[in-house]
């Protein structure tokens, strides 16, 4: 095994390789978080997986976060990557505008990203360009909105046994 990879080294490598594309970085709770440009996300994930030394070859989690207040960059797609060999985790973020939240799919890199991307599409309407089957997964096909966006209600409006007045609605 080569010398252990740490977060600092990882960040350094990333900056060397994708200088322009790395927009921001921080380490909240010891987890290196890097903001990248949406267009470069696919290439970075691919490089991280294929680079033998870093070997960030495990996709832990893929999801999105909706920030309605950040104009122009409302939708954040978050990748959690994990190098099992070095036990280093990395969080990648790419911010997208709400009007056209599209980003390249990573299903060609990780097969397991398939359903997670579909779920993200289902919940937030993020379009993963090049995804083989980008349809809703958890909700009904007939649903016409993306329920996890902040503007939508959680509650079911049809129930009768609750009195909304008591719960502050």
């Amino acid at each position: 095994m080569s010398n252990p990879i740490t977060s600092e080294l990882l960040l350094q490598r990333l900056q060397e390789r994708f200088g322009e594309a790395i927009l921001q970085h921080e380490s909240p709770y010891d987890l290196l978080t890097v903001e990248v440009t949406p267009s470069s996300a696919h290439a970075i994930v691919k490089w991280l997986k294929e680079d033998n030394e870093l070997a960030l070859s495990f996709l832990t989690l893929l999801g999105a976060v909706h920030y309605p207040d950040q104009t122009g960059r409302e939708m954040a797609v978050v990748y959690h990557l994990h190098s099992l060999v070095h036990n280093v985790r990395l969080r990648l973020k790419a911010f997208l505008p709400i009007e056209d939240p599209s980003i390249a799919t990573i299903t060609d890199i990780y097969v397991g990203a398939n359903w997670q991307e579909r779920e993200t599409f289902d919940f937030y309407g993020v379009k993963f360009v090049g995804h083989p089957n980008l349809v809703r997964i958890l909700n009904e096909d007939s649903m016409d909105y993306h329920p996890m966006r902040k503007e939508y209600q959680l509650e079911d409006a049809t129930r009768e046994d609750k009195d909304d007045r008591f719960f502050g609605r």
Partner: protein
């Protein structure tokens, strides 16, 4: 794939020995095991006739406690309703009037207190939230009904009867830090 730790151990052995491959020893062995159970005493709680002892902290049907003098503890602060993740508790607060001191302990009381037992998930958060030790979950189970409306438990079902107190002291003490005397 290289090993990620030094604790790896392969546990599944797929090679069959000759004796395993002729079926019979394992079959007979298995039958011997089940045969032994034939003579074991059954391990069944025949429910309606026998009941099993619940843990003292079991989270079953709620009770609204009265204090020693028979006054309702609840002061309708609404914390339980706020704490309820199922939003099953609704209440209406009312001011205590003159002459009602023997009924309610505090100046405010709940004139209406309802728990929707069909919504309730018996998580126990209301009990924890109550600052007045008024609501407790008990080790009684909520009965089943044919109609949905019966599950709205009002004060008539929740508040304990004056002469028929429900003992919850065990759940207050079990596993808790020793009470300062």
């Amino acid at each position: 794939m290289e090993s990620l730790s030094n604790r790896k151990k392969v546990v599944s052995d797929k090679k069959m020995t000759f004796w395993e491959s002729i079926y019979l020893p394992a079959v007979l062995g298995g039958m011997w095991i089940t045969f032994k159970h034939l003579f074991r005493k059954h391990n069944v709680t025949k429910y309606p006739e026998e009941t099993r002892e619940f843990a003292p902290v079991y989270r079953g049907q709620h009770v609204l406690k009265r204090d020693e003098e028979g006054r309702e503890n609840c002061t309708a602060c609404g914390l339980c309703a706020v704490a309820c993740p199922a939003e099953a508790i609704t209440m209406v607060a009312d001011e205590r009037k003159k002459g009602e001191e023997h009924l309610y302990r505090e100046e405010k009381y709940a004139s209406m207190y309802e728990i929707n037992m069909l919504r309730c998930i018996f998580c126990g958060l209301c009990e924890e939230a109550c600052p007045k030790e008024a609501i407790f979950l008990t080790d009684r189970i909520v009965p089943t009904y044919f109609e949905r409306d019966n599950f709205i438990y009002g004060k008539d079902k929740l508040v304990e009867k004056v002469d028929e107190r429900i003992d919850i002291s065990k759940r207050q003490l079990t596993g808790k830090r020793p009470q300062k005397s």
